[in-house]
């Protein structure tokens, strides 16, 4: 048992979660002096902090996105312990995207785990999630409704490849978030034996190169602009979701619009986005995985953030866990497209 309750030293401030004995914030939404960042997505990694502690991969992603920033960066590999003020900090893999980590903070005999975003499925582009037992667990709740149960990825990839053979004259353009989903989808396609070039919207190229520099093999990639319009017939083209509904897509021959996201599970959401081929591929834990994680972490207290808190709090309380919603400004819904 901790000597002091964790709630005495882990505070919710307008900027984000603050670890008082260490004097640092975790994933603050505005620029602060000291920040620990779980992963490179825009709703977690912000520019302008004076000092940043994160995995080497996350720091590389931040430098790529913020043109060199952060200046005062300290890399911490998974499992490596670091004394910060009166607290001990270490990072555990979160399985969300390359470099994504749970922040483990120990102080006065107690341990809190702030998981950031996480998933439990195998992902060829990042290290799998490791549950760490704790007194307090902060969890995301992006897909915290029992209707969200992600199907096996291999089945979704097979649907995409079937469509490609049936509509062989149409470019299959898939909306993917630039960090994580893009590279995971490519890696899963390669795993399914798809070895043709995959075409990229310009906004996706940089992070693909960064992944490859970190040892993730993505196979032949080409910018869309490198080939004639006709050559894109029957090819896979990846683009940020915003480009699908925009004039950019007009350069493609008879495009068939797909999207890879956990949201695609719900028809109304897929239709709103005008998607013809919804692929349910998510980088977040689904309902069953959220509950399994609560069991594995075995924390008597859980704070829920980042999405649909109500159902998860209900289910946690039914398990005898003290659970409450943690309303963090700017963190209402995942910004990584699920």
């Amino acid at each position: 048992m901790p000597e002091t309750p964790i709630t005495d030293w882990l505070e919710v401030r307008p900027q984000g979660l603050f670890v008082r004995p260490g004097g640092f914030f975790i994933d603050p939404v505005t620029a602060v002096d000291r920040a620990v960042v779980t992963h490179g997505h825009a709703d977690h990694a912000r520019p302008g902090h004076a000092h940043v502690l994160a995995t080497p991969e996350t720091l590389a992603i931040m430098r790529h996105r913020f043109a060199g920033d952060p200046a005062g960066a300290q890399a911490l590999a998974y499992g490596q312990r670091l004394r910060v003020g009166d607290a001990t900090v270490w990072l555990a893999p979160a399985g969300h995207v390359l470099g994504s980590a749970q922040v483990v903070v120990e102080h006065a005999g107690g341990r809190a785990v702030v998981s950031g975003d996480y998933k439990r499925r195998a992902d060829p582009t990042c290290v799998p999630f490791e549950p760490v037992t704790a007194e307090l667990f902060v969890t995301e709740a992006t897909f915290a409704l029992p209707v969200f149960r992600h199907p096996p990825v291999a089945g979704e990839i097979a649907r995409l490849l079937r469509s490609l053979s049936l509509f062989a004259e149409r470019a299959h353009v898939i909306g993917v978030y630039a960090l994580g989903k893009c590279q995971r989808l490519i890696a899963e396609l390669r795993r399914a034996g798809y070895d043709r070039p995959i075409f990229l919207h310009g906004a996706l190229e940089g992070l693909c190169r960064l992944y490859e520099a970190h040892g993730v093999v993505l196979g032949p990639l080409q910018p869309v602009t490198a080939v004639e319009r006709r050559a894109l017939a029957g090819q896979i083209v990846l683009a940020p979701p915003s480009a699908l509904a925009d004039r950019w897509s007009r350069r493609l021959p008879d495009p068939l619009t797909a999207a890879a996201s956990g949201w695609m599970r719900v028809r109304q959401r897929a239709r709103q986005r005008g998607v013809e081929l919804p692929l349910v591929i998510s980088d977040h834990a689904d309902w069953d995985e959220l509950l399994a994680t609560l069991d594995a972490v075995a924390a008597p207290e859980v704070w829920v953030t980042h999405g649909r808190e109500e159902a998860l709090i209900f289910a946690a309380q039914a398990r005898g866990i003290r659970a409450r919603a943690l309303s963090l400004v700017g963190r209402e819904e995942a910004e990584d497209g699920g």
Partner: protein, 541 residues
């Protein structure tokens, strides 16, 4: 079940007709009998399960899922079948594997009511989420995948390199799972035999025409009739049909169930072509009145009294067992008139033929027909046989000119499929005469066709440059652009804020030149409303 579920899933999201056709044909080509036959029946709306009800499904899920979690989920998803299909707890499969489509259909058709919940529950335990969705939609009768019976049959035709009309010829004598049909399509047997009185004969259709004189048509070679504004139907009534005959829509859908009044009058042995209308005291009611009778499985007695159906006859295809379709139009017309005089059926009259010596006379008649109940004129060659489909040079529809107003563009919405990157659905408004000196634009209609590809590009550009607000896929624009909107007619409507509803509005011209202040007023539109009493009478149009 998996292949069927995949098909349903793809169809739900696929807007283009051609892509739908390909998906269906591909499914039919790769799925064995009898599964593909039942899938086809599901698409054409020929499967009914009377015992499976949404309430039953709700009770099943209530036994498996905590009510609070179900309520939160249903609230988020919004559709019962979808919520249940997603939330159903997945147990370890029992090794039996998912049931086939045929197993589900055949078991459910024969099962007594009391056994149905247990069956559904056991199936839900053996299926994945997409298959559960397909199962629930299938048995509760609401596939809603945007596929008409006609489209599904066209896919069958494509599979066997046949003309869709050939499928229609035999369709109405067939029963799921259509083994005979597929044997024929696969080239393993001849066309399935069908009882003469039970089948739909593909209709003869007309080509549109702008000006018969300019097209060099000889007035002496043609007959002219009014083109009534109802729905074109075929009445196949047979003394030995055993079930009182069938009323078919132009696409071969059986709509007999919605028109018991017409069917009760069909106590003879003939196949007739005509226009289905609502007629009160000899006066044709507006199309909207007929609309209320369509799409109903059951008709209440009050509806039969208030909206009495009527058949205005154009042509005769069979007199008893005698096929008249090879005879010239004039000869068929004579047979129709003789038959009508002899049989005197109730609820049916003949569409009159119009007297004219030259096109000018006819043009004047057409111009006078500004009434709601007439869409224009039909011209039929006197020597034309009744040929299925749209043969060239025989029949023409000479529609009256459209009505036009100048309206102001208010909102634009992104389209679907090919048009998903374009703002292609346009809501437009007319000026309301406000009591004070603040005239306001009130939305009067929505159009998403009529423009060329180039005009679409121009409109899209204009919308993007003149957006003042956004709501999801919809943009509100500065009320500056005038559109000339063409439409067939306008009706009173309590469902629209403007109080009017336009029929077939389309963008006729973009009036880049016209100031918005000079667009039409709502009062102009109201003046174009045709009340039912003013229409041409049945006997003297």
């Amino acid at each position: 079940m998996r292949a069927f579920a995949d098909l349903i899933e793809r169809l739900v999201y696929t807007p283009q007709r051609n892509a739908k056709l390909r998906l269906i044909a591909d499914y039919l080509a790769h799925t064995p009998n009898p599964d593909r036959g039942y899938a086809l029946a599901a698409l054409t709306g020929d499967l009914r399960f009377t015992h499976a009800k949404p309430a039953m499904v709700r009770e099943l899920v209530a036994q498996r899922v905590t009510p609070e979690l179900f309520a939160l989920s249903y609230d988020y998803v919004g559709d019962l079948a979808e919520t249940v299909s997603l939330i159903w707890p997945e147990k370890e499969l029992d090794g039996g594997g998912p049931p086939g489509l045929a197993e589900v259909v055949e078991t459910l058709t024969q099962a007594p009511r009391g056994a149905v919940p247990g069956l559904i529950e056991a199936w839900l335990d053996r299926l994945d989420a997409n298959q559960r969705f397909a199962l629930l939609k299938l048995i509760t009768g609401g596939l809603r995948v945007g596929v008409s019976a006609r489209l599904a049959k066209t896919a069958v035709a494509r599979l066997g390199d046949r003309d869709p009309a050939e499928i229609e010829e035999v369709w109405h004598g067939l029963e799921p799972p259509y083994r005979g049909l597929f044997a024929w399509i696969d080239g393993q047997a001849g066309p399935p035999a069908v009882a003469e009185t039970q089948r739909f004969r593909p209709m003869m259709l007309a080509h549109p025409l702008d000006d018969p004189a300019a097209d060099g048509l000889d007035p002496g070679a043609f007959r002219a009739e009014w083109k009534w504004d109802g729905i074109r139907v075929q009445l196949a009534a047979g003394a030995d049909g055993g079930d009182g005959g069938h009323l078919y829509s132009r696409t071969g859908d059986d709509i007999s169930g919605a028109f018991p009044d017409v069917m009760a009058a069909a106590a003879f042995d003939a196949v007739l072509d005509g226009e289905l209308l609502v007629v009160r005291d000899g006066v044709v009611a507006p199309f909207n009145d007929l609309q209320q009778r369509l799409n109903r499985k059951r008709v209440m007695p009050a509806m039969l009294t208030r909206h009495p159906a009527w058949l205005r006859l154009y042509d005769m295809l069979f007199d008893g067992a005698e096929d008249l379709r090879g005879l010239p139009f004039d000869a068929r017309r004579q047979r129709l008139e003789d038959w009508h005089a002899r049989v005197r059926p109730s609820r049916m009259d003949l569409s009159p033929q119009l007297d004219f010596a030259d096109w000018d006379t006819l043009a004047a008649l057409r111009a006078g027909a500004r009434a709601d109940q007439v869409e224009g004129l039909m011209l039929k060659r006197r020597d034309s046989a009744y040929v299925a489909g749209r043969p060239k040079g025989l029949w023409f529809k000479w529609k009256r000119g459209p009505l036009l107003i100048d309206a102001v563009l208010l909102y634009a919405q992104r389209g679907h499929g090919k048009r998903s990157s374009y703002y292609s659905d346009f809501t437009f408004g007319a000026w309301r005469d406000a009591a004070a000196d603040a005239p306001a634009l009130v939305p009067v209609g929505k159009a998403y066709f009529g423009f060329t590809d180039e005009e679409l590009r121009q409109l899209d550009r204009w919308v993007r440059a003149n957006t003042v607000d956004r709501f999801g896929p919809v943009r509100a624009v500065r009320p500056d652009l005038v559109l000339e909107v063409a439409f067939d007619s306008v009706h009173r409507s309590t469902r629209h804020k403007s109080g009017v509803a336009m029929r077939f509005p389309r963008i006729h011209r973009i009036r880049w030149d016209k100031p918005a202040a000079e667009a039409d007023r709502l009062a102009t539109l109201e003046a174009m409303i045709v009340e039912s009493a003013k229409g041409p009478a049945a006997t003297e149009p």
